[in-house]
């Protein structure tokens, strides 16, 4: 069994040496997951806001479904996206399979329910506070959604971070639809899975530590920027 200190040394060595393969893998991880979170935000934030604001038949059911989808196993999403983009699947012509595009789609599917559900609950709380005020001021539903999204943006940053964490951490979906192809679709988590299957546990854990550090830095940066902006602009 590798000791943790071995792994920390490996992680440190990887970072200090600026290993080119590692940089490539980290860059692809970030590119895929950040793009997926961006797309998921474009879908999930308005969806969450509409679920918080607009009453319509089936809304309660939809909220339950979106919340349940937060727990989707990545490998199931991977399988569905794989079958969709397979050459013999409905969208095979797009030739997304085994490219970062398929990985982005899979992670977008994974992350959208998280962002939508967290946004809905955040914005529902905010609506409870704002509802009467906005109505007295003459707001229509669209105004209410826009106001909530803007005034809730600092809380929503947390929802985006939760989504990003899930995207960066998952392996099941990107492994299936990306194929873990060296220099093409290999990301942090699939590299960790590969090294684990090679029995190179210190390296695998070292990569895991690097991933953790990246996630830490991303969270610190986003929360730091958020707190600064929040302190300056609002209260």
């Amino acid at each position: 069994m590798p000791t943790l200190s071995d792994s920390f040394l490996t992680a440190l060595g990887l970072i200090v040496s600026g290993d080119a393969d590692l940089i490539e893998i980290v860059a692809l991880s970030l590119r895929v997951s950040l793009t997926a979170v961006l797309l998921a935000a474009l879908i999930g934030l308005p969806l969450g806001a509409v679920l918080a604001v607009v009453r319509f038949p089936g809304r309660g059911l939809l909220i339950v479904v979106v919340n349940a989808l937060m727990g989707l196993p990545p490998v199931v999403v991977g399988l569905v996206v794989y079958l969709t983009f397979s050459a013999s699947g409905p969208l095979g012509v797009l030739e997304f399979l085994y490219t970062p595009a398929a990985m982005i789609v899979a992670q977008t599917v994974l992350v959208t329910p998280i962002i939508a559900a967290l946004a809905r609950s955040t914005l529902a709380d905010l609506l409870g506070e704002y509802d009467e005020t906005l109505r007295v001021l003459g707001a229509n539903r669209f105004d209410v959604v826009a106001t909530l999204l803007w005034d809730g943006r600092f809380s929503l940053a947390t929802a985006l971070l939760a989504g990003l964490g899930r995207a960066l951490a998952e392996v099941g979906a990107v492994m299936l639809v990306g194929g873990n192809i060296d220099h093409v679709t290999r990301v942090m988590t699939t590299a960790i899975a590969l090294e684990t299957s090679r029995g190179a546990l210190p390296l695998a854990l070292g990569l895991g530590i690097v991933l953790l550090l990246i996630t830490l830095v991303l969270n610190a940066v986003v929360l730091g920027v958020r707190n600064r902006m929040e302190a300056h602009a609002h209260a």
Binding site: V54, T133, V136, L137, A233, H234, A235
Partner: protein, 249 residues
């Protein structure tokens, strides 16, 4: 979200004679079996300040919400003069300011009132001057002091030039100077022709600001009269008890 638009509840076909003043007829509202408004009847004078008095829990805040169209009554109606329709401002008992700067709160209200973009900046300037908040324009609204927040909430309600402004205990927690600032603001607003309904527990404030007084108790309007008449010779037993601090809830 319930539709915010109806200002007359329930909607009535145009009436032959447009009433000059706000009228409330047989307003009833119950929640979980308790009658909160229990047949409120009143006709307000067309201008000036009407003070709405009554003990805690009388239904004053609820009545303002119904007039503003935030709550639909179970029975009865609020008849708003046609000119006043869609031009009603309400400052809640606990005003909610947006998580934005003072000026951005005002810009937001102007945008919701569909004021064209190019007119907004000058109007924001006017409103800030009216509330004496120019120096605080760029401060986060929710960081203002209680009195400053009240002033901001009032000028925000004035953004769209309402013809009816309802203020729910705007000076409840304020020191004498802040109270004075708000009373001065209310006086200016009425001079501009806007009808004001003011909920207050402060008879001194009634003395200084009000033209008439409506007395609400247990969801019913017991009396509506001119200020001096009400303060010196209240007609209803409930109002008499209230003014002498002997009202049993």
């Amino acid at each position: 979200m319930p539709d915010p638009t109806p200002r007359v509840i329930p909607f009535q076909p145009p009436r032959p004679a447009d009433p000059p003043a706000l009228r409330i007829e047989g307003l009833c509202l119950s929640r979980s079996g308790a009658a909160l408004l229990n047949g409120v009847e009143m006709t307000l004078s067309p201008g000036g300040v009407t003070a709405l008095l009554g003990p805690n829990g009388a239904g004053k805040s609820l009545l303002l919400r119904v007039i503003a169209g935030l709550i639909a009554p179970d029975a009865g109606r609020v008849i708003v003069p046609r000119a006043m329709q869609g031009r009603i401002g309400l400052v809640l008992q606990r005003p909610v300011l947006l998580r934005r700067s003072v000026a951005a709160n005002l810009r937001h209200a102007l945008a919701l009132a569909r004021v064209p973009r190019r007119h907004r900046a000058p109007r924001v300037g006017e409103l800030l001057a009216l509330g004496n908040l120019e120096a605080l324009a760029d401060r986060p609204a929710r960081r203002l002091s209680g009195g400053e927040q009240q002033r901001l909430a009032i000028i925000r309600a004035l953004a769209a030039n309402p013809l009816l402004l309802m203020l729910d205990e705007p000076t409840a927690h304020l020191d004498p100077q802040a109270t004075h600032a708000i009373e001065a603001l209310v006086a200016r607003v009425t001079e501009g022709g806007t009808k004001v309904i003011l909920v207050t527990h402060d008879t001194g404030q009634v003395q200084r600001l009000a033209d008439e007084v409506a007395f609400l108790h247990q969801g019913r309007c017991h009396e509506i009269a001119g200020k001096s008449a009400f303060l010196t010779h209240p007609e209803s037993a409930a109002a008499r008890a209230y003014l002498t601090g002997k009202l049993l809830l």
